[in-house]
């Protein structure tokens, strides 16, 4: 197990190297002078020269890359062109809302999707199954911004139960923070709920046909124990895989949700940086997102072993 973990962690290095090269080349592959791109349409020549010096563009490309990676390894993601603040500081400031939104969204999605999927599989080809799958298809088809505005209209404007927009940080109280996240994470969670519920149903259906489920019934076990222990534990691996994919998608999925609900998270930071062509921030975000995805994949792979003893590393 330890050897496996070490091997997998070492395998992260080439992945991140490729990411770093891509991110570095991003600015250089864009047509024209990066300094001119950053400076914008109305820049004076002095501005361009200043920016070129700031970015170290006068060095050879290999030296530039070496210097950049060197700083990266020290945790220095560069400096924002517009705010002049370190990119790490900007990302750190925006991290909490996004992490909280991801956690609550995932919780809502998993907690609703797995029971629904199990129920649908158990009641396969009945009206209950059809209703659950209809919800799943709708949830998948409905864009986050549509569902988000519908939720805002009903629960925030009409019923006034929850805030319309904005995010209350954790330090101002756990419950008020959670309250500000209910609508965004429900809107965002619906898609993932649909995705996870469908996979749960499919995976459970396959398992419920197995001989050992008949054995469980022949032992007189309750339906609950048969479904939730004997069947679900066997169905876990595909479900975990799709949850892993969901986490990865969520990180990019928060962009729209954060805009709709006006949450100052990484999604908003990304959008703003792209609009302003603040390349250092974009580069920093891509590296952080890539790193998170690699780590999520690794933890999902490791967690398989907890559910299926036949998987050993």
């Amino acid at each position: 197990m330890a050897a496996y973990l070490l091997r997998r962690l070492l395998a992260v290095i080439p992945v991140m190297v490729v990411v770093a090269i891509t991110v570095f080349m991003l600015l250089r592959l864009a047509p024209g002078d990066p300094a001119a791109i950053i400076a914008g349409d109305e820049a004076r020549p002095e501005d361009i020269i200043r920016i070129r010096a700031m970015l170290g563009l006068n060095e050879s490309i290999v030296v530039q890359f070496g210097l950049w990676v060197g700083r990266l390894l020290q945790g220095d993601l560069g400096t924002s062109i517009f705010s002049n603040l370190p990119v790490t500081t900007l990302i750190a400031q925006r991290l909490e809302p996004t992490v909280m939104l991801t956690i609550t969204t995932l919780t809502i999605a998993v907690v609703t999707a797995i029971p629904l999927g199990v129920l649908a599989a158990w009641q396969a080809r009945t009206i209950i199954d059809r209703i659950v799958m209809l919800i799943a298809v709708l949830g998948f088809a409905l864009p986050v911004f549509v569902f988000g505005y519908v939720l805002i209209w009903i629960f925030a404007i009409d019923l006034q139960w929850l805030p319309v927009q904005g995010y209350k940080p954790l330090k101002d109280g756990f419950w008020s923070c959670l309250e500000s996240l209910v609508l965004p994470s429900t809107a965002l969670g619906l898609t993932y709920m649909a995705l996870i519920a469908r996979i749960t149903r499919a995976s459970m259906l396959e398992v419920l046909d197995q001989d050992y489920i008949r054995t469980a019934r022949a032992k007189g076990l309750s339906t609950r124990r048969t479904l939730l222990l004997h069947a679900l534990k066997n169905a876990a691996v595909p479900i975990l895989t799709v949850i892993g994919i969901a986490i990865a998608l969520l990180i990019s999925g928060v962009v729209i949700t954060e805009s709709v609900f006006n949450i100052p998270g990484l999604g908003r930071l990304t959008v703003d940086a792209i609009l302003k062509r603040d390349y250092p921030i974009i580069q920093g975000l891509i590296i952080v997102f890539a790193g998170v995805k690699v780590l999520v994949n690794l933890s999902i792979d490791v967690s398989y072993a907890a559910f299926d003893p036949r998987i050993r590393y």
């Binding site: 050992y212 309750s222 036949r310």
Partner: protein
Amino acid sequence: MSTALLEVEDLAIRFRAGNGHIHAVDGVSFALGRGETLGIVGESGCGKSVTALSILRLLPKRGADIHRGAIRYDGQDLARLSEREMSRLRGNRLSMIFQEPMTSLNPVLTVGTQIAETVRRHRGASKAQALAHAIDMLTLVRIPDAERRATEYPFQLSGGMRQRVMIALALACQPDILIADEPTTALDVTIQAQILTLIADLQARTGTAVVLITHDLGVVAETCSRVIVMYAGRVVEAAPVSALFANPRHPYTIGLMHALPHLDDAAPDDGTRRRLAEIPGLVPRLVKPIQGCAFAPRCSMATDQCRTETPPLDPVDPVHRVACWQVPR
């Protein structure tokens, strides 16, 4: 037989298929005495496994139904119990072991857990007591180093071991009836003998009655006291094992006996071998109830009466019953 532990009477089971039904079991009756071993033999598709599954009501909920008859056990008709009442009997008073030991155990739970949970369910034992009992059961089915084996998963055990685990599981609550559906079919011949001996030993010790479903007449001869022969969803002959082997009466049973290989038939000096006798023709499809004797199309003695009237299972002597118009009674 008024002392019967289990009485199956005129059982008929059909499966929905397309627009119609398949009549998998059509009017099967038999009784099982306390501590007895009853064999049910017949070829694939004759309805023997369906009959066995129906006793524990393990047929697929949708698509299969018991549309006639009764399964009487302990003063109640199992065919009419609710799912909840039925689940209290399963694994407790009535147990079952299956043909495929490789797939019948849950791959992600330890064998100890799988036995212990049955004990906990029916005996309300504590976790530790149930696990101790599970280890005792594994020892009883002669699994060496039971304590360690209990913590292992099915994939760490051989096929023979897994079938022993299934037997331990089925007998953990000392059931009145054990239904064994082809328990040795998937195993090596040497392991088959061990498993059959084990079932017989445990049965002698616990007084559990056994219904042994098999297509193997050799297995029946070794283990059963009484046997019923099924063909196309019906019982065609029922007799004590000795009587059936000494004097088979139904043309189908006679055909089966002739299809058995005999040691003295093997390779004469000239190197040629006698072909095994076979029964000509095919098993009938069961898409509609069969008129007359189901075996008539393959039977050399069939008459017009055989093709139109269903022969009743009548006694030819006090213990031997045959469903055939051509057997004098």
